[in-house]
């Protein structure tokens, strides 16, 4: 059963001025991250990555290779952290589970007819239940964007609440697919709905739609998390996914989290990057800061 009570702030309109948001973003981007701060920041980024493969052509072999990489990011340089999690389709959860036995790397599974969410309530429930039964530690669901855009906010809310009920203690990330929400006001509204309906994390994108995790969108979602925290004292996690493929952008995201939510959020319990190619760029930067020059991309593995 969905939660019977929908708090009024979910339907209130927080207006957002895009020009002002862009100015604020420019300030984050002008922060200078040097020396120890950069060193520490890059390691943090690595440890916050959800290493992801979400393709129709995924095979058990591909997933096993990625799981190995997740634990061995760059064995040539010992002492690096692992990524936070791997993110796969429900059908691959079992494979990942077997590959990660004894590891601290978590398994996130997408569900609810990812990426479009165009299916029945029943299917979405079963999809989620299946992923959990297979051993998923975290569920990444998608919201029904069609319903959201049609103004059926209660439907969206109820659906999230229902999936959260299936999840129980399994952490739920709610994907807003912000590339399909045309304004930041809508991103904010969808964030508020997801948070109130029981999301443990809110996540920008599936990675299938462009634009994905722009800093404007992530900023808007972080502000929703902050307002919720200020009101209730409850922490919600944030996961920008898609489009963050280099270290600089990742560090700018950390700056944003630090300055909006504080250092408290700077761990993979509360902040994740959904990315497939980010890890190698971060590794390249770490190696550069160790030995002073850039190595060729061929020195970093591409599982």
């Amino acid at each position: 059963m969905a939660k019977p009570f929908i708090p009024s702030e979910v339907f209130s309109n927080v207006s957002i001025d895009k020009v002002g948001v862009e100015e604020r973003i420019a300030r984050f981007q002008s922060r200078s991250i040097k020396n120890e701060a950069k060193h520490q920041g890059l390691r943090m980024v690595l440890n916050m990555i959800d290493l992801t493969t979400l393709e129709g052509k995924d095979t058990p072999g591909k997933v096993r290779q990625m799981c190995y990489k997740a634990q061995h990011l760059h064995d040539a340089f010992p002492g690096l952290p692992t990524v936070a999690a791997v993110c796969v389709y429900p059908s691959m959860v079992k494979i990942a589970k077997d590959s990660l036995v004894g590891s601290s790397v978590k398994i996130a599974s997408v569900s609810t007819a990812f990426p479009s969410g165009q299916s029945t309530h029943q299917v979405k429930i079963l999809d989620t239940q299946f992923a959990i039964d297979q051993g998923a530690d975290e569920i990444d669901m998608v919201i029904s964007r069609g319903k959201f855009l049609a103004g059926e906010y209660a439907f969206v809310y109820d659906e999230i609440a229902a999936i959260k009920e299936v999840c129980g203690k399994t952490r739920l990330k709610v994907i807003l697919e912000t590339g399909e929400l045309p304004t930041l006001d809508m991103v904010r509204k969808a964030s508020d709905i997801a948070i109130h309906a029981g999301a443990d994390f809110i996540k920008t994108s599936t990675g299938k739609i462009q634009p994905a995790a722009t800093m404007q969108v992530t900023y808007t979602m972080l502000m929703a998390i902050k307002d919720h925290y200020d009101r209730t004292g409850i922490m919600i996690g944030m996961k920008p996914a898609g489009g963050i493929s280099n270290s600089k952008l990742a560090l700018h995201n950390l700056v944003m989290v630090k300055e909006i939510l504080g250092n408290k959020w700077l761990s993979n319990e509360w902040f994740r990057f959904g990315a497939s190619s980010l890890a190698n760029d971060v590794l390249m930067q770490i190696m550069k800061s160790e030995n002073g020059n850039y190595q060729s991309a061929d020195y970093f593995t591409i599982d």
């Binding site: 207006s15 001025d17 922060r31 200078s32 520490q40 700077l266 761990s267």
Partner: protein
């Protein structure tokens, strides 16, 4: 081997990131710049200019007396009569373009010196002051040979010698605001920078010399208030352009009364920043911060009186306080510093005096937790809550990082209160409603009304005040007319 299963939050802080100073060249001593030459002051007097962040002396600066001022004015008069007013307009434009480009080439040097001498953050001098100063030269360079389109069906003439006195809050930018339109319209200039921040104007003198501008077209004389007074009183000056305090503005106005001198005065302000309940609140909070803490609040148009609609006041104040706590106050040369040093010891004392007045008046004070550097002149970002219109701190210009907050209930009330000030330089309006913006921008008696933003400057836009904030406009087309007369 895999390490760290679930990471624990790290205390992640930015490492110091100071802008280098090794590339700048400062002389130990600066004399006066007259006729494209560095000349020893007849006064034979020098005074030190100090880095307000470290209290270290940066250079010794000439202190011009009446005789020095006279030499500079004579040089400007000679250049006006014999070269500059005779030169084809497109040639004048070329010089202005050249100055702009040379400033751009040396932008980093200018930014560092501006920060060293004035205490403003490198982020602002690098991203705002210097690029904007270049843009003013570029903009007015374009007008130089198109004045007949600026003043259609009029025959216009330059005024002659312009005496220009500029303040310490935006030293290079104010020099550009003053020099560029004066030269574009065919006037020659004697510029007097503020005593606390003469260095970027003196570096600009180097560019003026290097670009081959004819001698005497721009003369730069340094000194204190008496130097400025001598310039104002000089009988052969045709125009006085002043930016600074209302107090000095009044003295100037009295001094030029009964003479033929034209004047523009750009003076103080106590500008209202008004937030309605339908505003984008997080962006409004940014605008409030930018409005009052930009350049340590040393901004004539600073949004120093905040009016918040009563029903959203608690949330706005809570968010504002939280945002203020995230501001970095400290070394102006560090690229991550948000608020730098107060420009001078004297100004810091003025600000502290007003803070004490606010406390004595019974207003509720809030200051951020940040630790201030032990050396140099610094002030914590400060709010005053529960302020009345009749408090001194909401009437007088403080010129520092001090904001007063009042609430309002209706539009009429806030318009009345915003206008209830001897000043009228700028105002800000934050609302999602376009019609409300137009309504307020016609009713607020302020030279500039910003909507859903604050402290935005552009060469194409005129700037200037109502009432005790001065008269005359600088910038844009209006800025040209302050330097011409029509026959």
């Amino acid at each position: 081997m895999p390490t760290k299963p679930t990471s624990v939050p790290t205390d992640w802080n930015y490492a110091p990131s100071p802008e280098g100073t090794s590339h700048i060249q400062l002389k130990k001593k600066y004399s006066l710049f007259i006729n494209n030459e560095w000349v020893e002051p007849l006064s034979n007097t020098y005074y030190p200019t100090v880095n307000p962040a470290t209290e270290e002396v940066l250079a010794e600066i000439a202190w011009a007396n009446e005789a020095d001022v006279d030499a500079a004015v004579r040089a400007a008069r000679n250049a006006y009569e014999n070269t500059w007013s005779q030169m084809p307009a497109h040639e004048r434009g070329k010089y202005l373009y050249r100055i702009a480009r040379m400033m751009q080439e040396r932008a980093r040097e200018f930014a560092v010196i501006e920060t060293l001498d004035g205490g403003k953050t490198i982020r602002e001098s690098r991203d705002v002051d210097v690029p904007l100063a270049c843009n003013y030269f570029f903009y007015y360079a374009g007008w130089a040979d198109k004045l007949e389109y600026a003043f259609p069906n009029q025959k216009i003439e330059p005024l002659g010698v312009a005496g220009q006195i500029i303040p310490w809050n935006f030293p290079l930018l104010m020099a550009a605001w003053k020099i560029a339109p004066a030269l574009a319209t065919g006037n020659t200039v004697v510029l007097k920078p503020s005593e606390t921040t003469p260095l970027t104007a003196l570096k600009l003198a180097e560019i003026i010399k290097d670009c081959g501008l004819p001698p005497g077209v721009v003369n730069i004389i340094t000194g204190h208030g008496d130097t400025g007074a001598a310039l104002v009183k000089h009988p052969d000056v045709n125009k006085i352009a002043f930016t600074g305090s209302t107090q000095v503005g009044k003295i100037i106005q009295r001094a030029v009364t009964g003479t033929n001198k034209k004047t523009t005065l750009e003076l103080g302000g106590k500008s209202a920043n008004i937030v309605f309940d339908d505003a984008p609140i997080d962006q409004a909070v940014e605008g409030i911060v930018n409005g009052i803490f930009f350049n340590q609040g040393h901004v004539c148009c600073a949004g120093s009186r905040l009016f918040v609609q009563e029903n959203i006041a608690p949330v706005v104040i809570q968010k504002l306080k939280a945002r203020m706590e995230s501001l970095y106050v400290g070394d102006p040369l560090d690229k991550n510093t948000d608020i730098g040093a107060i420009n001078s010891k004297e100004q810091l004392e003025t600000i502290q005096k007003y803070i004490q007045i606010g406390i004595n008046e019974g207003a509720e004070i809030f200051q951020t937790e940040c630790a201030l550097p032990t050396k140099g002149y610094f002030c914590k970002p400060t709010l005053f809550l529960n302020v009345a219109q009749s408090n001194v701190i909401s009437q007088e210009e403080i010129f520092g990082p001090v904001l007063t907050i009042q609430t309002f209930r209706s539009i009429d009330e806030v318009i009345q209160k915003a206008n209830n000030s001897p000043y009228g330089l700028a105002a800000g309006v934050w609302t999602d409603k376009g019609s409300r913006i137009f309504n307020l921008s016609t009713k607020l008696r302020a030279g500039v009304v910003w909507a859903n933003t604050y402290n935005k400057f552009d060469p194409t836009s005129p700037f200037g005040g109502f009432k005790e904030s001065g008269f005359g406009r600088e910038g844009g087309l209006h800025g040209l007319s302050a330097y011409v007369k029509s026959e």
